[in-house]
Amino acid sequence: MKKPCSKYSSEDINRFVDNELPRDRYHELARHLHHCSDCSLLIEQYESISIVFSDHADQQKLKIDPARLKQRFDRILQNSQKKSLKNAFGFFGRNIYLKLASITAILMISLFTFQGGLFDPAGPSAIVKSVDTEFASVMIIETQKEKHTIIWFSET
């Protein structure tokens, strides 16, 4: 933009249009405009640009439909929830072999734990079902540490 008057800079003019100048400076420039046609023209140009911008912004604002906006927002939210669920289930992404391996490992571990639990039952090393002897003194003892079973009989 052409600016032959050198008293005020383009920035001052711009700030004047936007009403951002200090009060005394604003009034000073307003007085200057009465006799400076160059600055007046420049201010007109700036104002027209400013109007075009604000009109465009208003038009964009009017174009936004709150219902559609809410719909879009809901859709985005749903998508993000789906993604998070997908991440939770697909721990290893798309690698099916890794998934299979992990499932097999879990099954094997649970199976062996289950079997191990059955093969190593808790309790004493031996459960005495019956004792038959002609001797009067028979004792069944279980040690504290390893729960080892001892049957003691006296021949006398």
Partner: protein
Amino acid sequence: MVRFIKIILILTGISCFCLFSQPAFAKNRVLTDVKVIHASTGPKYVDPSLKKIVSELKSVFKYTSYRLLKDQKLNQHFNQKGRVSLPGKRTLIVMPSGMEGKRIRYQINIQKNNRSIFQTRVLLKNNSSITIGGPQFNDGVLLFNISGSLQ
């Protein structure tokens, strides 16, 4: 997703088959190990092969000497009798007669001069042992440590 569920179902099926078909392929041999120990109040001694069991026995008995007199391994079928000669004209007869739950059912008989003096039926934990003791021998007592493991 359907494919994924199918795969899980197949794997679960295989696992269930392995678990429930186990009795069909069950082990039917038992390795019985009979250790004849002489325990006495003599000079302190523990046979190196008895260290593990003696640590348990010491918590119950006052004996200071534990000597291994005999160690006999018997590879038995179920209902097959195994005989172990013991000091003092005694004989130990052990017979694994089956499984009860996850324990080996044993019938143990001690004879002296071909006459039964002691009989017991026990359910032994697999890879575990029981100690039977009491007969007097050489200023001490005899202990019979019987362990069983499925083969």
